[in-house]
């Protein structure tokens, strides 16, 4: 996609509903609601308190809120995540701080 990436960087605070048709990198603070059609990356210095919907989510910083990411969630070792996650694929690295419930949309075999 030739769409230029957006980023929230440095000492900028966003309060409200943010929707993005492309990819988004958050280096700053965001509070409210977040809806990203592409990949969402929260870097080590990113701090997000928002219910988040994205195609794919990578967190290295702080995230608090409900997460829904259809194509996958990656929680890096530096991350601190609090809240329920709904996804089809998840990686939580060793050292990451996570508290919440994970709901993976998979059909379990009947005898499980």
């Amino acid at each position: 996609m030739s769409d230029p990436m957006s980023n929230i960087e440095g000492d900028i605070r966003v309060n409200g509903t943010l929707s993005c048709d492309g990819d988004l990198i958050i280096d700053g603070q965001l509070e409210g609601e977040l809806s990203v059609k592409g990949n969402l990356t929260i870097t080590e210095i990113g701090d997000v308190g928002a219910d988040t919907v994205a195609s794919k989510l990578t967190v290295a910083g702080k995230l608090k809120g409900k997460v829904s990411a259809e194509k996958g969630v990656l929680i890096k070792s530096t991350a601190s995540v609090l809240g329920p996650i709904e996804t089809n694929q998840i990686i939580i690295e060793d050292g990451a701080d996570y508290s919440g419930t994970i709901n993976m949309n998979v059909e379990l075999p009947k005898d499980v």
Binding site: D3, P4, M5, S6, N7, I8, E9, G10, D11, I12, R13, V14, N15, G16, T17, L18, S19, C20, D21, G22, L24, D27, G28, G32, K37, G38
Partner: protein, 104 residues
């Protein structure tokens, strides 16, 4: 200096604040207050009161603009609202509807 970019694909309904600079290419409804420079690029639509240091507009703004530095209205810009600043530059072709106060 870190610079936040609100890209073309981004839409924000709410508040933006901070001490750093900001480049807007997308759409914003709400309020913007930053300590650094703000640049509203061509194609962007901002419906918000803007408070910033230096302000450069080449897109569309509906709202009052208050600058602690200088204001630069580029040739393709469209501004509806009052402007308060200490220095202003308005290029030929800029569309402005509103009052301009220059406080020295």
């Amino acid at each position: 200096m870190p610079k936040t970019t609100i890209g073309k694909s981004l839409f924000l309904d709410g508040e933006l604040s901070g001490i750093d600079g900001l480049v807007i290419e997308g759409k914003i409804n709400g309020r913007i207050e930053v300590g650094g420079a703000i640049s509203v690029e061509k194609g962007s639509v901002v419906k918000a009161d803007i408070k910033a240091n230096n302000v450069k507009i080449s897109g569309e703004v509906k709202g009052n603009i208050t600058s602690t530095g200088n204001v630069h209205y580029m040739e393709d810009c469209s501004v509806t609202g009052d402007t308060t600043t200490s220095r202003i530059l308005i290029e030929d072709g800029a569309t402005i509807k509103g009052s301009v106060h220059i406080d020295i």
